[in-house]
Symmetry: C2
Subunit: 229 residues, 2 copies
């Protein structure tokens, strides 16, 4: 058990991830390569295997950090009306994604590369996704502590849907009532769609500035959470 300084190892790990992050910022996810990282650090690529079992593991680890960073960037504890806070969280999410497109692509883009890492990827990042969703779930719960929840949409009260919620239940138990979960799923899906379609440029054939659409859809979603249709 030669501990040396245990901080030395973790410092190198942090340096590796910082270098990977820099490559991600400048060249997108595909620019992250072990050899490029090692080159920038004045090392050789095999040395990184002392710290990570492979490139995939490094990327997954980095992505986990991104979820935490994004959670901090989005979370906005305050004593405002939770509805206002929720809207502001949506805007902060969009702002972070637009400012960090490569990071967004890593965390929320298309995985599907090799079927091999696909499962491992998802399993290890389940925690990140769940903890990220928690921030929104908390705020929506705060909303429904003030405003009455709207009537549940059809299909979302079925026992089949309740059974489909098993993964969520494993992560969060019964901490949130069903209307909160339902509102979260709808709101998060819309927010994801708006931001992903903008960051990935899939609406560039139609519109140059997505912000008006975003604001319209955001306010429509927020107001829909309290009794609207």
């Amino acid at each position: 058990m030669t501990t040396t300084t245990p901080s030395r190892r973790s410092a190198t790990v942090a340096a590796i991830k910082a270098t990977a992050r820099r490559l991600l910022r400048s060249g997108g996810p595909a620019a992250i390569s072990l050899r490029a990282i090692a080159r920038e650090m004045g090392m050789t690529a095999p040395a990184i295997y002392r710290y990570f079992p492979g490139l995939d593991a490094l990327v997954v680890d980095l992505t986990g950090d991104l979820f935490a960073e994004l959670r901090d960037a989005v979370d906005r504890p305050g004593d405002d009306d939770p509805l206002v806070r929720l809207a502001e969280m949506g805007r902060r999410f969009r702002r972070w994604a637009l400012a960090n497109p490569g990071e967004f692509a890593l965390a929320f883009g298309s995985p599907v590369p090799g079927v091999t890492q696909f499962d491992r990827h998802c399993l290890e990042l389940t925690d990140g996704g769940a903890r990220f969703g928690e921030v929104f779930l908390d705020t929506i719960a705060a909303v429904y502590a003030v405003h009455p929840p709207p009537p549940m949409p059809a299909n979302l009260g079925d026992p089949g849907f309740l059974a489909a919620l098993q993964p969520y239940r494993d992560a969060h138990g019964d901490r949130f009532p069903l209307p909160v979960v339902s509102a979260f799923l709808i709101g998060w899906t819309r927010l994801y769609g708006l931001v992903a379609i903008e960051v990935f440029g899939h609406l560039r054939w139609a519109v140059t500035d997505v912000e008006p659409l975003f604001e319209a859809e955001l306010s429509r979603t927020i107001t829909g959470m309290t009794g609207g249709a």
Copy 2:
């Protein structure tokens, strides 16, 4: 001008794309490589350069085909109520995406690889995206020929938003009235979000079966197109 059989060349082009498609189906977008294609065809990789200027061009070409195929898979000419037809188109889109995740990732996933091909990619596929959106625009126009359009959401009547619609206008002119465009943008964004989040597995931490959520959001969106909030 030794034409030989001009069909021979186009047959080889088709064979190359078919092989690429097969690799895409079995191993995702990252599995498409010139060497693998050539290997499966009993050729060598440089031979493919007689037909495509490079891997990127091949992938872009293939993606263009996917847009056309998807348009055919989604389009449902019929004399039903256009609202019913629109809902069925949404379901067909989801079904196609779930059955062809790799293809969906190629057409609607995160680009962002190298900044180089990014622009070229988008420019060449603008046409595909626009022609694909056309199918939905047509149907929504048919909807509003029968049902009255809902009140325009805030922000989407601003002159700023009208100016932002320039790319759309370049592609489609003034063929569709503003409420049609507005309803399309909202509906398409929601549909994209629902399907992408499911295909990419970003909701697997919460839910095993997205279908109830999809159906709830779909019907909410469809009904919202005719006077609902």
